[in-house]
Amino acid sequence: MTDLLSAILFGLLFVAISYVPLAVSPIWSLATDVTQASAFPLTAGMPETQPSLLTEAVFVKVRSWGGIRALSDLCSLVLIVSCGAIFLAAKSDHQRPMLAMMSTLVFGSLVWVMASILQPAVIGVLCWSLLIWVNTWKKSTWSQPIAVAVIMMVWVNSHPSFSIGLLLLLSQLIGTVIAGINKSKQDHSYHSWWHSVILLEAGFLGFLINPDLMNRFWDGTMLSVIVQRPLILLWQPLVMSSSLGIIMGSSWLFVFGLSRISNAKFHPGFLTTWLILSVGVCVTQDLLIWYLPLTIVLIQPLLADVIPKWDSQAGSKPLKTAEELTASDFRYTWISLLIIWLAFVFSPVSRHVIGGKPRPIEQVISQSLPLGVAKHLRKSPPPGQIFHSVEWGDWLNYSMTGKHRLFVSQHSLPSTPPLVMIDYREALARGDAWETVFDRYRFSTAVLSVENQADLVKALRESENWTETFEDEQGIVFHLSSLVKKSEPTQESSDE
């Protein structure tokens, strides 16, 4: 019965996640049609790093096949599969599907809440979930290192977050070694220390199957983390009063409290990685997407220890043997499959199989995207350099036709000089620093977010040199007043 309930919950999660609108960042792959240096002139001269070749190839292929809707469906499916992997990883500790499902629901609902944050690394999240799951396999067979190698190979060619996978494998080794030294207690490692070494080696082997070999690690990870990434990736330290801070704080308290009341122990490898990620999240909250699934799996043994076994009637009657189960019928399996099929039918993904009316594009795409602004700029392409929010750069690049000079986007971030990002922050900071920055890059158009860039919006409104030409709920467009006078465009808004 609990299996059925789990299937129903998974079906609901399936439907819910498939309706998560496509947020800004996956769309960076849409921008690959346009030569980066021509659309983002400030990247000229910088090395072009391409750690996401595989993702881009897949995304562009899917887009060319089914447009943005298909891309949205792909992202949803990837997240659903990630949830599935987390479910399996969670279940591996206690074989209690209901408990694992409830935990996965927490992960899934956080995916829903933080959809726009999760999206950039959607393929990375999938690899991360699969790697966690593979690490929970208790049998130390050769299939495990092969799976680790394949996952790492896909990851290193799909998303620059692959180093977190290497961190997990290394932590597993450290954890098993520590557990081995402390022999007086029960060893909670999934496997022996030397099997952890093999997994680490397999991970490295998989990682090395990329066009840049070791350079991908130095170039894409170490040097950029040390030299550039804090600047160009706009690392935001965790603010405890924010919603993410509350999630983090609650999770720490929960894990701590659980460890006090439970007699079970954490898996040392997962605990090591979890501690490192906990510190990492304080430095940059972007790491939350790696922290969450690991936390879900980390706490399973303790949860299983403290939560009563509501999904087992072990006390009243003996469990059926495997032979009895398989010999009877496939009722539960068929009903579970039916539930999953129903979930599939009710999700937009099914359109590709059973047909149906496509959803309006406004529902597919996140409302955080500047649809109105892009439409306005497409209608009257501005000359000269445009200042805009980094998060909007790829959408603007995708939406605008012809030649345009954009500033920075998520896609062009790794190739953007750090000083440009410092200037970007400076321009958005309170005060009149924006004037110097605007002069330096000769911006003649500013595309600003109403919600996130209110200070600069206010400053430009107060400046005689800038005139507002468009406004809707998401964004505002300003042009140099001299340009407005020349062309005399009429003020418009999305309502008109």
């Binding site: 400030l42 000229a44 001269g45 910088m46 090395p47 030397w194 070494v197 093999i198 080696e201 490295f204 070999l213 070791m214 350079n215 690690f217 130095w218 170039d219 170490m222 040097l223 030299v227 550039q228 000359p383 000269g384 000089p417 750090p418 000083l419 440009v420 200037d423 110097t436 002069d439 330096r440 890059y441 000769r442 003649s444 040199n465 140099l480 007043s481 001299s482 340009l483 006078k485 020349k486």
Partner: protein, 393 residues
């Protein structure tokens, strides 16, 4: 038996991990080496000489009068380094004067480059002008009277007057050479930095022919990209109403004639840019010959947004007119305006300088050095070549 098996396993995996570590180390070394492709220096910078000698622009007598007025009477203690820096560029190290109030070129050079001499004029409340930085010797900028006024202004000035890179520099931490100043400038250079025109000028003089190099930001730097950067902003932006950027572009063209710096396309782009500037200057020259701060007129993105100098409009006009005549004196024929434009401007400048009070000369000294140098160069000479050791009126 089991122990032996374990040991073998341990050995094999240790070797594998060690091999990976070695590979990683070699990879890192190669990566770092790739980022250390700094260009080589040349000890003796080229001297870019003026191209014209036209007595209609300024007569010998008028030039003497102007230069006399602009002699470096900078012997007072704690004189602004900014003034010394400019005076050194105008007069060069070989200039000397009979006027006891004047400081010779060599004294100026030593004041700038030798911390012991610097300390004879500047008390301990001033931080040293030259100090050891992360990548070489850094020049203190915009920190009061004892500091330079602009990023890399000093090294650019030294390059223009031909100071070799092996010339000694003495800081609080010891003795080094001018090359250490250049090295710091080169390694701190970023294409989008706030002031870059003097850095580019110094690089054009002191670097061996190079196809480019990686900045510390990982950006590929070439003279083409630097020229593009100069031309990116509005014409009036930049110190001295944008004129230093025009000067740097002119110098790139001149140095490129003997030592390849630019691609053919970029050379053409620079020429077109400067021709456009010359056209604008012809259009906006005032009847009496001077230019106002809004000299470029309207660009495609509108009129210039200019705030007046605190020193007043006369100072602003001297600044723009003097600087314009300076880069024109070095610019090839194809960038020249009709000669009467230069003559009218030079006449206005000469007369205006002649009418300046000593107080005004003191206040305007930095940009007057550009005016004085410009007028001398229109007679085919640098100021120190015009004067004799007994120079006086």
């Amino acid at each position: 038996m089991n122990n032996q098996r374990q040991t073998t396993k341990l050995l094999i995996h240790s070797i594998l991990i060690l091999a990976l570590a070695v590979w990683a180390f070699v990879g890192l070394k190669a990566e770092l080496a790739k980022r250390n492709d700094w260009p080589e220096f040349r000890n003796e910078p080229p001297i870019v000489r003026p191209l014209y000698d036209d007595a209609n622009v300024i007569s010998d007598a008028d030039l003497d009068k102007v230069l006399w007025k602009l002699r470096p009477q900078l012997r007072s203690p704690q004189e602004k380094i900014n003034h010394i820096d400019h005076a050194l560029r105008m007069w060069s190290p070989s200039a000397s004067f009979s006027d006891p109030n004047c400081i010779s070129g060599l004294e100026m050079l030593e004041l700038m480059l030798d911390n012991r001499k610097f300390r004879t004029s500047y008390t301990d409340q001033f931080k040293p002008l030259m100090y050891a930085g992360e990548y070489g010797v850094k020049v203190r900028v915009q920190e009061g009277a004892g500091s330079s006024s602009h990023v890399d202004h000093t090294i650019a000035g030294l390059s223009e007057i031909g100071v070799p890179l092996d010339y000694p520099v003495v800081t609080e931490t010891g003795e080094t050479t001018v090359a250490a100043i250049l090295e710091a400038s080169l390694k701190n250079f970023r294409i989008n930095q706030f002031e870059y025109e003097w850095s580019i000028l110094a690089f054009a003089h002191y670097l061996q022919p190079t196809g480019g190099w990686h900045s510390r930001e990982g950006e590929w730097i070439t003279f083409d990209r630097m020229a593009e950067r100069i031309m990116r902003q509005r014409l009036v932006e930049g110190v001295c109403r944008g004129n230093h950027r025009l000067h740097s572009l002119t110098m790139l063209l001149r140095i490129d004639e003997n030592q390849p710096l630019l691609s053919t396309e970029m050379r053409s782009q620079i020429i077109a840019h400067l021709q456009n500037v010359t056209e604008r200057l012809i259009q906006t020259q005032q009847e009496d010959g001077h230019w106002d701060p809004e000299w470029p007129g309207d660009e495609w993105d509108g009129p210039q947004n200019v705030e007046g100098l605190p020193l007043g409009i006369k100072a602003d006009r001297i600044l723009v007119t003097g600087h314009t005549l300076e880069w024109w004196a070095l610019a090839p024929e194809e960038l020249q305006p009709p000669r009467e434009v230069v003559v009218t401007a030079a006449q206005w400048l000469t007369q205006t300088i002649d009418e300046l009070s000593p107080g005004e000369v003191k206040s305007y000294y930095t940009f007057l050095t550009h005016a004085g140098r410009a007028l001398a160069m229109w007679r085919g000479q640098f100021p120190h070549e015009v004067i004799t050791p007994e120079f006086e009126l």
